[in-house]
C-alpha cells in the first residue's frame, strides 16, 4: 500500500529554490499528521553537497540523483527518473513547488502515473491517510477543496504560501541509480537577468506600478531597492513597453503571494487582482479615491503617487 511523503525539490546552480524548503516543510507537517516519513529527492549534477541541507527542514531521507544528464532540467529526463523513483518507493503523497519547473513536470508525471494532480495548492490537510487540498480557481474568484484519487496524490504548492519551518531530522543521503531514458530535448542556453533582480513569485515584498506611473518607474525602483522588494507592473504598463513581460502581475502575467504588495497607480482591474489577491497585506496608492483597488486593499492612500512614494522612501530610510 502506498505510504509516506515524497518531496521533489528543485535547485539551480547548486542552490535550492525557496519553494523547495516550503515544500519540504509542508511535507513534514503533513507526514507528522499522517504518522509517516518524508523522503526528499534532489536531481542535478554535482549536487550531493547540498542534499544534506534538507534534513534541517524535516527530510528523514534524501535521495540524490546525480548525473550529468540531469544538470539542466528537461521534462523527459526528470519525468523518467522520478516516475521510476515513485513506482519503486510508492509514496502516498508527492509534494513539489508550483514553480515554472513544477508546472512543466507535475502534469506530465501525473499523466505518466495516471494519478490526480493539483496545481498551486494553498492549503493541504491530512485526511484518511492522504491529503485534501485547497487551490484557487477562476483567477482566485473561488477556492476549491479537492480530493485526489490515485497513488500518489501529486500536490504542487504555490510558491511563497507555505511557511518554512526548521524541524531537524536525520536527512540521511542515499544515492540512486539514474536511468534518464530517451531525452529528446536539448537545453541550448539559460539566460538569467541581472543577478540581483528578485523574482516576483518568490519576493517577500513587491512594489508594483500601473498606468499612473506614466512609465516613470524610478521612484518605484528606489522604494523597491530599499525594501529588498521585486518590481511588478500592470498589463497596461507592459503593453506600453514601459516594463518587460516578465514583470506583469495578473491573470495573463505572474501570480504572486508576497507578504506585502504595494500597488501604485493601479486601478485594480479584475485581471490584475487575479494575480495578487493572495498577498498577505495589500497597500494601494491611487489618486482616485474611488479606484476599485481600494476594495481589495488592507491599507490605502488616496493621493498622487509621485508625492507619496518619494516620501515613503524617506520614511523607510528612517526606520532602517
Amino acid at each position: 500500500m502506498a505510504q509516506g511523503v515524497l518531496v521533489i525539490t528543485e535547485q539551480r546552480d547548486n542552490a535550492f529554490r525557496k519553494v523547495s524548503y516550503e515544500a519540504v516543510s509542508e511535507g513534514r507537517r503533513v507526514a507528522d499528521e499522517l504518522g509517516t516519513d518524508v523522503t526528499a529527492v534532489v536531481l542535478g549534477s554535482g549536487i550531493e553537497g547540498i542534499a544534506g541541507e534538507l534534513g534541517k527542514y524535516g527530510a528523514d531521507k534524501v535521495l540524490v540523483a546525480d548525473d550529468g544528464i540531469l544538470s539542466d532540467y528537461t521534462t523527459d529526463a526528470y519525468t523518467n527518473v522520478l516516475a521510476e523513483v515513485i513506482k519503486s518507493r510508492e509514496p502516498k503523497v508527492v509534494f513539489l513547488g508550483a514553480s515554472v519547473q513544477g508546472k512543466d513536470l507535475a502534469p506530465r508525471l501525473a499523466a505518466r502515473l495516471d494519478t490526480g494532480m493539483a496545481m498551486d495548492c494553498v492549503v493541504v490537510k491530512a485526511e484518511d491517510g492522504g491529503v485534501v487540498v485547497t487551490r484557487p480557481m477562476f483567477g482566485g474568484k473561488v477556492l476549491a477543496d479537492i480530493e485526489l484519487e490515485g497513488d500518489p496524490q501529486i500536490v504542487a504548492v504555490r510558491p511563497n504560501v507555505m511557511s518554512i519551518t526548521e524541524n531537524a531530522k536525520d536527512g540521511s543521503i542515499e544515492k540512486i541509480d539514474v536511468q534518464a531514458g530517451e531525452v529528446k530535448t536539448t537545453v541550448l542556453e539559460t539566460k538569467i537577468e541581472a543577478g540581483d533582480k528578485i523574482e516576483l513569485t518568490e519576493a517577500d515584498i513587491i512594489v508594483s506600478g500601473g498606468r499612473g506611473t506614466e512609465g516613470k518607474f524610478e521612484v518605484i525602483e528606489e522604494l523597491a531597492g530599499l525594501l529588498n522588494a521585486a518590481v511588478g507592473a500592470s498589463r497596461t504598463v507592459v503593453d506600453e513597453g514601459w516594463r518587460s513581460h516578465g514583470d506583469q502581475v495578473g491573470q495573463t502575467g505572474k501570480i504572486v503571494s508576497p507578504n506585502l504588495y504595494i500597488a501604485c497607480g493601479i486601478s485594480g482591474a479584475i485581471q490584475h487582482i487575479a494575480g495578487m489577491s493572495t498577498s498577505k497585506f495589500i497597500v494601494a496608492i491611487n489618486k482616485d479615491a474611488d479606484a476599485p483597488i481600494f476594495s481589495k486593499a488592507d491599507f490605502g492612500i488616496a493621493a498622487d503617487l509621485f508625492e507619496v512614494v518619494p516620501a515613503m522612501v524617506q520614511e523607510v530610510k528612517k526606520i532602517q
Binding site: D104, A111, M119, D145, H245, G246, F281, D298, I319
Partner: protein, 262 residues
Amino acid sequence: MDIVVLVKQVPDTEALIQIAGDGVSIKTDNIKWVMNPYDEFAVEEALQIRDANEGTVTILTMGTDKAVETIRTALAMGADQGVLINDPAAEGSDGLAVAKILAAALKDIPYDLIIAGQRGVDDDGYQVGAAVAEYMGIPQASLVIKEEISDGKIKCDCSIEGGTVVTEAPLPVLFTTQRGLNEPRYASLPGIMKAKKKPLDQKTLADIGIDPSTVGLANRKVKIKALNPPPERKAVKMIEGETPEELAAALIKVLHEEAKVV
C-alpha cells in the same frame, strides 16, 4: 507544417463567478464564453508559423454545442478547420480525461506541432498540455515566448523565474504559450464570413474510440468536494494626513509596527 491548436472555451475574465447550489460547480446562466486567452496566443502563433511554412492549422476542442462559437472565432482568425469532440458523456471530465480524449482525437489528425495554452483561466488546471504530450509520446516546451522552426526541429525560448531557457527538440513537439509570444489578431469581417464555410467536424467519444465509462464527471481523479468564496479582506484602512509626508509616515508606521512587514 500541420499544426493542431488545443482551444478551450472559458468564462470571460470579467465574468462574475458565483457558486451554484450544489456547492461544487459555478452558475453558468449569465456567463459570456470566450476563447481562453492563452489559447488566443496559440492560435496566433500557429497562423504565423503556417503562413511562413505553408500547411494547415486545425483547431481541436472538447466541449459542448456552445463551443462551436469559439472554434468559429479561431477559424475567423484564419485557422483552416475545426474538430469538436462533443459528447454528453465527456462533460465534467478532469484535465487527465480531457487530455485522453484530445489524444484519441489526435490519432486521426496529422500534425507536426501541437500548441496549447499554459492553462485554462477557468479551472487554472495547468494539466492538459503536458498530459497530451505524454499520451502522444512527444517532447513538450512550456511557457514559450519565442520559437523558431528549422530542419525539422523547434527552438523555444521558455520563460523561467528571472530569465529564459532556450531548448531544442525534434518535431513533433507540443508547446504551451506565455504572454509575450505575440499579440493575437482580431477576426476580420471577411474572416468571419469565410469561417462560416470552413469545415467543422463534430465527433462523439465512440467516433474516436473512447470508452465513456473512463471519462466524465463520475470518473474524475481530481474531485471537487466544495467551492468556497475566497476569505474576505477586512475593510480597507484609509491612511489620513494633510501632506504626502504625513501620509507616508503614517503608512510606514502601520506597516512597520502593526503589520510588521517592513
